[in-house]
């Protein structure tokens, strides 16, 4: 067997991951993606004495399993790429190239990913990114960023346009690189690591921290009490509601629908203020912790939340009915920024960016964690892959999340009175944790040494896959539609740059 088959949040001995020849390793993993139910959730390199171990994790959404395989290659090897077989590996291989100097001669686009401080080639610097150049006298280029006009994170977009029409857009990232994966090894205290997880992407504090604590608890062979799982599930759905609402506000802003922008903008306030009522922080920092819950969820908090949702829902539906009916909004949303079903499967997009093009990818349904198995989540799918589909998904997912929260609130587990202490993480183990954040699939992987200490930590934000979807969406659109396309994806810069 070339792979070991595991479940989400399962830990296994590192030695149980098969090591194959690179040719076999390539064949196995690139054959998986021929099935639409498979996609790559993480693929990365781990430095081992004198060699590089490549580890590939392929999720099988039909069976709720993950196939993990590996191969040992020379540090400066020249290898045939996975990408030549399936484009969805392109970013992973660029990362391996950037971090370790592995050469892939048949990779179509072996460009820097994030200019990490520990990159293999220090001659490659962020100020000298090799942009694609059309060398045409008819076409012109537009550069935007890294610092943008709004209060948002930095990244550089380079457009090649024919008049108003975008032919091509290249996205240069890396400005946000903070060395988070290395910090996971350097900072040894558990509280430091939970705090780090909260800052991977501060707008997804619950999502990333849930991935981390589930992974940590699995490594410690610790089954979280139901009240912990309840809090994580509830907080994930509240984070989804808050961020989807903010995104709908931003979408209205970009099509100049002022009322929608103001009303959605203010509707986010009661949700995040509720997080402050529950855990003292509007962005939920401090709430999710391994093996404990500093802010028990009480019956009284439940009552407050149901009253709040009743009021929210009424206002939300009123403004949504209007927004999604206005010709001036629809004409800007519909058929703008289309990414086809074929393109999405090809690039391996996840989360909303996949579901908008009828690709059923949602960890809550396919690899459920915490209380999602109980909720029997059915992903909401759209078919057109345009801004309108992405806006609709948010609207409908908000209503769906409200429904889930109501059903969770019917059965609030009491605070566990004899919480087991967290043990120590297993030695020489591997663990993978998938969580469906509001943007999509989050994946954390860890490897421990003979003392149970982290020797490797790998983080993947959904934005890792989805930035390319944004790049494709703007082709042949007017450059003036770029902002609304960008907002409709609302991808993470820091989650990507790490």
């Amino acid at each position: 067997m070339e792979t070991v088959v595991i479940k989400n949040n399962q830990n296994i001995p590192l030695a149980s991951i098969p090591v194959s020849d690179y040719e076999k390793f390539l064949l196995v993993n690139t054959s998986f993606v021929k099935e639409s139910s498979f996609h790559c959730v993480s693929y990365y390199g781990v430095a081992v004495p004198e060699k590089l171990r490549l580890i590939c994790c392929m999720a099988d959404d039909d069976h709720g399993t993950i196939h993990v395989s590996s191969s040992l290659v020379d540090r400066q090897a020249t290898l045939p790429s996975f990408t030549a077989h399936h484009l969805s590996f392109e970013k992973f291989e660029r990362e391996i190239h950037e971090n370790f100097g592995i050469a892939y001669p048949d990779h179509p686009w072996l460009k820097p990913v994030r200019f990490p401080f520990n990159r293999a080639n220090h001659q490659s610097t962020i100020a000298h990114y090799p942009f694609f150049n059309s060398a045409s006298e008819e076409l012109h280029e537009v550069g935007v960023g890294p610092i943008h006009a709004g209060v948002i994170e930095p990244g550089h977009f380079r457009f090649i346009c024919n008049g108003e029409q975008i032919m091509h857009m290249e996205i240069q990232l890396g400005f946000q690189h903070r060395g988070i994966e290395s910090l996971f090894l350097e900072k040894k205290k558990l509280l430091q690591r939970a705090t780090l997880a909260e800052t991977i992407a501060g707008d997804t504090a619950v999502g990333h921290t849930t991935a981390f604590v589930n992974l940590w608890e699995s490594l410690c062979n610790y089954t979280p009490d139901e009240d912990l799982q309840f809090a994580r599930t509830l907080a994930l759905e509240l984070e989804r509601i808050a961020m989807h609402t903010a995104d709908l506000s931003a979408l209205c802003t970009d099509v100049a629908y002022q009322l929608g922008s103001a009303v959605y903008g203010r509707l986010r306030t009661p949700i995040i203020n509720y997080m402050q009522i529950w855990c003292g922080n509007r962005l939920s920092k401090g709430l999710i912790r391994p093996g404990k819950l500093n802010f028990p969820f009480t019956r009284d908090l439940g009552d407050q939340l149901s009253r709040l949702l009743d009021v929210y829902e009424k206002d939300f539906n009123e403004v949504s009915d209007n927004t999604f009916r206005l010709p001036s909004v629809l004409s800007r949303f519909e058929k703008t920024g289309v990414v086809t079903h074929g393109q999405i499967t090809e690039i391996g997009a996840v989360g909303m960016a996949a579901r908008m093009s009828n690709v059923r990818r949602d960890v809550r349904a396919t690899h459920p964690h915490d209380l999602y198995a109980k909720l029997e989540h059915v992903p909401i799918l759209k078919h057109h892959g345009d801004v309108y589909s992405r806006a609709q998904i948010r609207r409908e997912e908000i209503n769906q999340s409200i429904g889930y929260i109501r059903s969770l609130l019917r059965d609030i587990p009491g605070e566990s009175k004899n919480r087991k202490p967290l043990g120590l993480p297993k030695a020489n183990a591997f663990c993978i944790s998938l969580t469906e954040g509001w943007r999509g699939e989050i994946c954390h992987c860890a490897i421990t040494d003979e003392h149970g200490e982290f020797v490797h930590y790998k983080i993947k934000d959904p934005s890792h896959h989805n930035w390319l979807a944004l790049g494709l969406s703007v082709r042949n659109n007017e450059i003036s539609d770029f902002p609304v396309c960008n907002k409709s994806f609302n991808l993470s810069y820091c989650g990507h740059d790490l």
């Binding site: 401080f117 948002i152 994170e153």
Partner: protein
Amino acid sequence: MIEDIKIVMHQGKQFIPDVTAAKVPGIFRGRPVISQADVDEQALVELCPTGAIRSNPFSLDLGKCTFCGECAFANPEKVKFTSDYKLATNERENLIIKAGEDKPMGLNPDKIRKEIHEYFGGSLKLRQISAAGDNSCELELNACGNVNFDMGRFGIEFVASPRHADGIVITGPISENMAQPTQICYDAVPDPKIIILAGTDAISGGILAGSKALNRTFLDKYPIDLYVPGNPVHPLTFINGVLELIKSRR
């Protein structure tokens, strides 16, 4: 149109009438109060994820604190977080809260540059630089301008270009990869100009302090006009801090 008017009616008034006296809902972790209780201080020093707590004498540095609240859970007798959100100050040392202190924080008026009130007392345009910020402070700075907090009523706004700005607001710990863009942006702001650090990551690096991917040398070159602690900063903390900065007359 009729539908729009209905929505406006149903929304009613959403703004906070007095942002200087508003109460925050819930258990917001604001200005801490530290008692003189004799406790195992070393245990708290070791607990804190960012080294914000020091012993002998006991103090808590809001410039490093991530407001995780763990110290207060571990030892409620020693550390209590109040809901006082007025945390901004213009002197780095003032962010360090000492045992036995329970007085409002604020700016030292003697240290506010004279031209700030003169030039910006009635209007302040800011250019925000997210220098490896995690998008939580950025979301809260955006919220400052929404219909609830409505910072625009004081003439304080974020603008698109440094050329239109009177100063910069930095969020994030400043990555190596953002060091040059930060400098270029600051240089493009016309004089006189101010620098505000918003959030723990910007003030000290927070949990990211010590990472080899950071380059914080920009901060050694210029005086900082305002420190706004928070993880992320609360809109009321930011607005009150900025108001105090531009309204104080020396």
